[in-house]
């Protein structure tokens, strides 16, 4: 990183190098509400993918496109509400607004990625913000996921309106979240930390009739 751009912004790896106990935003919920077992009759299964790296990327698509492709090996989704995933499904980039994307990578990669992106972006006008502590990713799987989502969000989750590879920010119960479809029966929810318990309790309540289970 050039010295000049280094002074522009403060890039700080907030992830400890040493082995420090970490708590996901759902730690309290598991403690307080528990985790219903996954059973044979569970038609929705929920699992958290905690401690991932979450970056918000701001800038013009033209500015970011090449760099993202180079650094992440993924195309910058230019179409509204679309999502690119790498082959492993571990790295993704999602359109949030015409000048905003969400990048999710395996935990620990985010700071280095931020540095590399900044390096590559040079003098351009952009912003990168690490929000890894502020959100978590919840995966829902099962044949009743759509119905569970229909109880929770007015957004149309029918395959015609919400194909695999789509992602939107929308209303969910009395809160909001990012909703992504990563497979025919597999969905991801990106929850904000402070609302995570409410949303977790909502999902358990609305999912009760589908014998929803939570994988540890």
């Amino acid at each position: 990183m050039s010295e000049h751009t280094a002074t522009w912004a403060n890039v700080y790896d907030v992830r400890p190098k040493s082995d420090v106990p970490a708590e996901s935003p759902l730690a309290w919920s598991y403690h307080d509400s528990g985790r219903p077992n996954v059973g044979a009759n569970s038609r929705v299964v929920m699992r958290e993918r905690a401690m991932l790296g979450h970056l918000i990327l701001r800038g013009g698509a033209i500015v970011l496109d090449d760099v993202v492709r180079q650094v992440l090996g993924l195309p910058l989704p230019a179409r509204p509400n679309s999502l690119s995933l790498d082959e492993s499904g571990e790295r993704s980039i999602q359109w949030l607004s015409p000048d905003e994307w969400l990048v999710i990578v395996p935990g620990g990669e985010e700071c280095e990625l931020e540095g590399t992106l900044r390096e590559a972006l040079g003098d351009a006008h952009y912003a990168i913000v690490n929000v890894s502590g502020g959100q978590t990713l919840l995966e829902l799987e099962g044949d009743k996921v759509c119905e569970l989502l229909m109880k929770s969000t007015p957004y149309d989750v029918h395959p015609m309106a919400f194909p695999v590879g789509k992602g939107v920010t929308t209303v969910f119960a009395k809160s909001s979240l990012i909703l992504r479809r990563v497979g025919e029966t597999r969905w991801e929810l990106v929850l904000r930390r402070s609302f995570a318990d409410y949303l977790y309790r909502w999902l358990l309540d609305a999912g009760e009739e589908y014998a929803i289970g939570v994988e540890a």
């Binding site: 000048d99 913000v129 007015p154 119960a173 402070s194 609302f195």
Partner: protein
């Protein structure tokens, strides 16, 4: 067999009920039996129960009139236990289930012998419309007493007194075509749309889909109509793109084709929803449907005729008679007189005769009815009296006869001698009113169609009424209309309709109907026996006539003066008749009198269903910080701040006794002032700001200067709206040349974020800057007090020395092994470090702080202590010490106002308006109570002259007030008129208990006036 278990009116065969399944139920304490497939109404009729309720105003005995949603009388209280009570259930819409318990909503001691009925009989003539407005006025002081007695008569059913044992939910649906009503038209339309590949929802309020075809006499493709229904439903059920919703009422049609459908999921099974596989299910469900196009196939409601005594049990709608016979195998009487204006109603007489009971006569208002059904009746030898109508029903708790005479409907005259026919049932039909309720929810004005003698839906883009709902009552035409309207809807959506084959129906000739609403009586309306228009609200034709005589000429006036249409049936039966009567009285036509407007709901909907899951623990989100579990485990009392749960104080148990808030706060305050305390400040809003124009942006949005803030430094800023009033405050730190971290108040976070975006996106898009919320990413722990440095030094690699890490500096480093940003910002006036770490590691850091903090007396404190400490320092809380009418100058914060900044920042211009320049504005000051033991009440009003008579001129109020354990006295912040120039003056606070406190106006800083302690 118990006598009460017989069903005297049940036919031996026929109907769609399941005769193999007997269900017993209780009505008004008496046990009866019915069958699966019955409604409560059909079961009551089967058992020969005539009186089901008492009327609202006159307490007259009432029976079942209709078979569906339009029923005005048969309202019952459901439920065997307190918690399961449901008031005002329409018996015609309640499926029978085993063990159902129902009672009449009115009637004391019983519906058969009712005390109020006596009073109603005696005083009915004293209760013309509007009688309340004309009496109970003298003496004025007595009104509340009169009202107490009036209220005793209020209401129908009663609310349960225990919380609801059931749950409810919502389902958000999206579809291309929503078809409302699954009668012939709706089925044809749904099939057309479904075969064309559209996403279709078909709903119907009844227990079964099929509508009028379920009791039709017609043959479709030479088969009973129900067979065709079954075929269509089978096909629809097999299609992925179709959702079928029986027992589902479309109750509200909102903007842009948003329709709410109320699905009763368990009410046909029991009074509360049972567990399914050990899991709770929703008693009912609200479908929130966003449709591309809406097809209203809602059919029509039959209008009864208005004649004297038309409310006596045994008066029914003609169509209802057919429905009870054909669908439920119940014939609700022995000897029938049918009074009609149209051919269609003849079905009732034919069905009655088919059921083996006697048709005494058909009284037809037309002079020479023709039509195939008429011919059929004549062939059967049924007596038909032409040009006549039933003038009056005889009987008390059951019809005993019908007075019939020829009439001249147009001249509103009885022309012949009345003849009394011996009968126990009178069925009447005055024509058919399209069900236009949903269309009229959208704001569309219905229009009168003289050809069908009814209102049809006003035209609304994207709404398609079809079949009976728009006045096409013929079955074959209705089916074809369903197809045509579906095709039109599909075309609008850009889909091409696939044709369906319509069933073959034998053509039938129907004669024209005639217009008759109120049947004339020999006596003028005001002297004739009561002729009811709105049965539920006891509105009579006479009442309408009186209203028009009194100058109530608009139909809205008539309705409001008489209460017509304000019942739970919203006048489904009565409104058109009422309008016709008003029109007659005013010498106008029906459309001249006005139109009738319906509002959601089509039929009443349980609050719980509208609420859905958003109740109890899920009423509103509770937002937690990363340290919530620790707070709970350490006994915190919580304060609601916005949606956040913040620790308010941490009461400890001392000598087996839990501290009061006062004690806890005093302890927490002293700990901070003398040792070290810690606050979870994670709820403060945090906004990451990046871009080359970030500084310029801050300079415009804050009142103070930002161009020279160095990297590594923080600054406090005030934010105003453009009216000059304080909006929010907080510190913002410079993280890099183009990188800032802004903090906001807890409650203001979302608003400030949107505020920044508003100005950036709408006014200054040329500024290169981005804002991102990082409130949840960072957890913030404030370690403050004289020992703060010593404590922190134990677990950080940051150089904390006073000269290198100064007040209002921030530094990076590890705290408890976790990378942190530490800000030397103080809201307590003490040495303070705000430690920010990635929230996932917050609990670890917090616990390590406590591991090391014990020896320093580290004390957790909550918002209450935070408030005391900041107030001692004169630090404001936006929203508490300011209220939307307070400028930075009023707060005495001119030091934070950049008067000479080149850009006219948000709020600046407004400060020079004549009112904001006044010197006697309310200004923030400190108050020192003369009696140091007094803690002034927050919100206490301030006066200069305590002896002034009421109303007293008030000059300000107390905004913050606490006991300070440090000062050993109470103290307060307040706004006082011209307060900045009144230092040392005495003001007074007259309190509710008669005491008046005196206080001295002082500066706002009560502790460490020079601000030395935060710099140590």
């Amino acid at each position: 067999m118990n006598k009460s278990l017989k069903q005297p009116n049940r036919l031996k065969e026929g109907g769609r009920i399941d005769r193999s399944r007997k269900l017993s139920f209780t009505f008004n304490g008496k046990r009866y039996q019915g069958h699966a497939g019955d409604t409560l109404a059909s079961a009551l009729l089967a058992n020969g129960v005539d009186v089901v309720n008492r009327s609202f105003k006159y307490s007259r005995p009432r029976g079942i009139v209709a078979a569906s949603a339009e029923e005005p009388n048969a309202l019952v209280q459901l439920g065997s236990t307190e918690a399961a009570q449901v008031p005002n259930v329409r018996a015609t819409q309640q499926a029978l289930f085993e063990g159902l318990v129902a009672r009449s909503t009115n009637g004391w001691p019983s519906v058969q012998r009712d005390m109020m009925g006596m009073i109603g009989k005696l005083s009915g003539s004293l209760m013309p419309p509007g009688f309340y407005y004309k009496t109970f006025m003298a003496p004025a002081s007595m009104w509340m007493t009169y009202e107490k007695y009036i209220r005793k008569g209020a209401g129908l059913g009663r609310s349960p007194m225990e919380p609801d044992p059931d749950i409810y939910d919502h389902l958000h649906q999206n579809c291309d075509v929503l078809v409302i009503g699954a009668g012939p038209t709706g089925l044809a339309a749904a099939l057309t749309a479904a075969r064309s590949g559209a996403r279709v929802i078909l709903c119907d309020e009844q227990e079964e889909l099929g509508g009028s075809l379920l009791d039709s006499r017609e043959l479709l493709d030479h088969q009973p109509a129900a067979q065709w229904v079954a075929q269509v439903l089978e096909e629809l059920a097999g299609l992925d793109n179709v959702t079928l919703l029986p027992r589902t009422t479309a109750n509200g049609y909102h903007d842009h084709h948003f329709v709410t459908l109320h699905e009763r999921r368990t009410e046909h099974l029991g009074e509360t929803a049972s567990l399914k596989g050990g899991h709770r299910t929703a008693r009912s469900r609200m479908h929130r449907v966003r449709a591309g196009q809406v097809l209203l196939a809602t059919g029509a409601h039959e209008r009864p005729l208005v004649y004297a005594g038309n409310d006596v049990p045994g008066n029914l709608l003609a169509g209802a008679v057919s429905t009870y016979i054909r669908r439920y195998g119940v014939v609700p009487g022995r000897r029938l007189v049918l009074s009609t204006t149209n051919d269609h109603a003849y079905r009732a007489a034919l069905d009655w005769q088919d059921a083996g009971r006697e048709v005494v006569a058909i009284v037809d208002a037309r002079s020479a009815p023709t039509g195939d059904l008429v011919a059929q009746a004549r062939e059967r030898g049924i007596r038909i009296i032409d040009g006549a109508a039933v003038l009056e029903a005889k009987g008390g708790t059951r019809v005993t006869g019908a007075r019939v005479a020829t009439i001249d409907a147009e001249a509103f005259k009885v022309t012949g001698q009345a003849e009394t026919l011996d009968c126990d049932t009178i069925a009447s039909s005055g024509g058919y009113s399209p069900v236009i309720h949903l269309a009229s929810h959208t704001g569309a004005r219905p229009t009168w169609n003289e050809a069908i003698l009814g209102f049809v839906p006003g035209l609304v883009k994207g709404v398609h009424a079809a079949g009976s709902a728009r006045g096409i009552h013929d079955l074959a035409e209705g089916l074809a209309d369903g197809v045509a309207m579906a095709a039109r809807a599909l075309e609008t959506l850009g889909l091409s309709a696939r044709a369906i084959e319509l069933p073959q129906i034998d053509a039938r000739h129907e004669g024209a109907a005639c217009a008759l609403y109120q049947v004339p009586h020999e006596k003028p309306t005001l002297r004739a026996p009561k002729q009811f228009v709105d049965l539920q609200n006891d509105v009579t034709a006479a009442a309408i006539e009186i209203a028009t005589r009194e100058g109530f000429e608009s139909i809205e006036h008539v309705k409001r003066y008489t209460a017509m249409g304000f019942g739970t049936d919203q006048g489904k039966l009565g409104n058109i008749n009422g309008m016709a009567i008003a029109a007659r009285c005013l010498g106008k036509s029906i459309p001249e009198v006005g139109t009738t407007v319906f509002r959601p709901n089509y039929t009443p909907v349980t609050f719980g269903a509208i609420v859905g899951r958003h109740c109890r623990e899920l009423f509103d989100p509770e937002r937690y910080t990363a340290l919530h579990q620790w707070h709970v485990e350490h006994g915190a009392e919580f304060e609601d701040v916005g949606q956040w749960k913040r620790p308010w104080y941490f009461p400890q148990t001392v000598n087996g006794k839990q501290e009061t808030m006062h004690e806890a706060v005093a302890r927490e305050c002293l700990a901070v002032r003398e040792k070290v305390g810690i606050l979870d400040a994670s709820t403060l809003g945090k906004i990451d700001i990046q871009g080359p124009d970030a500084r310029e942006f801050l300079n415009r949005i804050y009142t103070n200067k930002w161009l020279k803030l160095e990297v590594g430094r923080a600054r406090y800023g005030l934010m105003c709206k453009d009216d000059g009033m304080l909006m929010d405050d907080g510190t913002t730190s410079c993280l890099g040349e183009n990188h800032f971290l802004m903090t906001t108040t807890t409650g203001g976070a979302a608003g400030v974020m949107e505020w920044l975006e508003l100005w950036h996106q709408t006014e200054w898009p040329e500024l290169q800057v981005y804002f991102t919320s990082v409130t949840d990413h960072w957890a913030t722990m404030t370690v403050t007090g004289p020992e703060a440095r010593n404590l922190l030094a134990e677990i950080t690699d940051i150089d904390l020395s006073r000269d290198t890490f100064k007040f209002m500096d921030w530094r990076e480093g590890k705290v408890a092994g976790v990378p942190a940003r530490v800000f030397r910002i103080s809201f307590t006036g003490e040495l303070a470090y705000e430690i920010n770490v990635q929230a996932n590691y917050a609990m670890h850091v917090w616990k390590i702080l406590f591991e090391h903090g014990d020896k320093y007396g580290l004390t957790p404190y909550g918002t209450e202590t935070m408030h005391v400490l900041r107030a001692e320092k004169g630090f404001i809380i936006a929203g508490q010490d300011s209220d939307g009418s307070v400028t930075p100058e009023d707060l005495g914060m001119q030091w934070a106002v950049g008067y000479d900044k080149p850009f006219s920042w948000v709020g600046k211009r407004a400060l020079s308006r004549s009112d904001t320049r006044r010197t006697d504005r309310k200004q923030l000051v400190g108050l020192r109570p003369k009696d140091p033991t007094v803690v002034l009440e927050e919100g206490a009003q301030i006066v200069f002259d305590p002896d002034h008579a009421i109303p007293m001129p008030m000059v300000g109020h107390v905004t913050s007030s606490y006991y300070s354990p440090t000062l050993g006295s109470g103290f307060a912040l307040a706004v006082v008129k011209g307060g900045h120039h009144r230092m040392g003056e005495t003001v007074y606070l007259p309190m509710a208990n008669g005491q008046t406190h005196a206080a001295e106006i002082v500066g706002t800083i009560f502790y460490d006036r020079k601000g030395e302690r935060q710099h140590v």
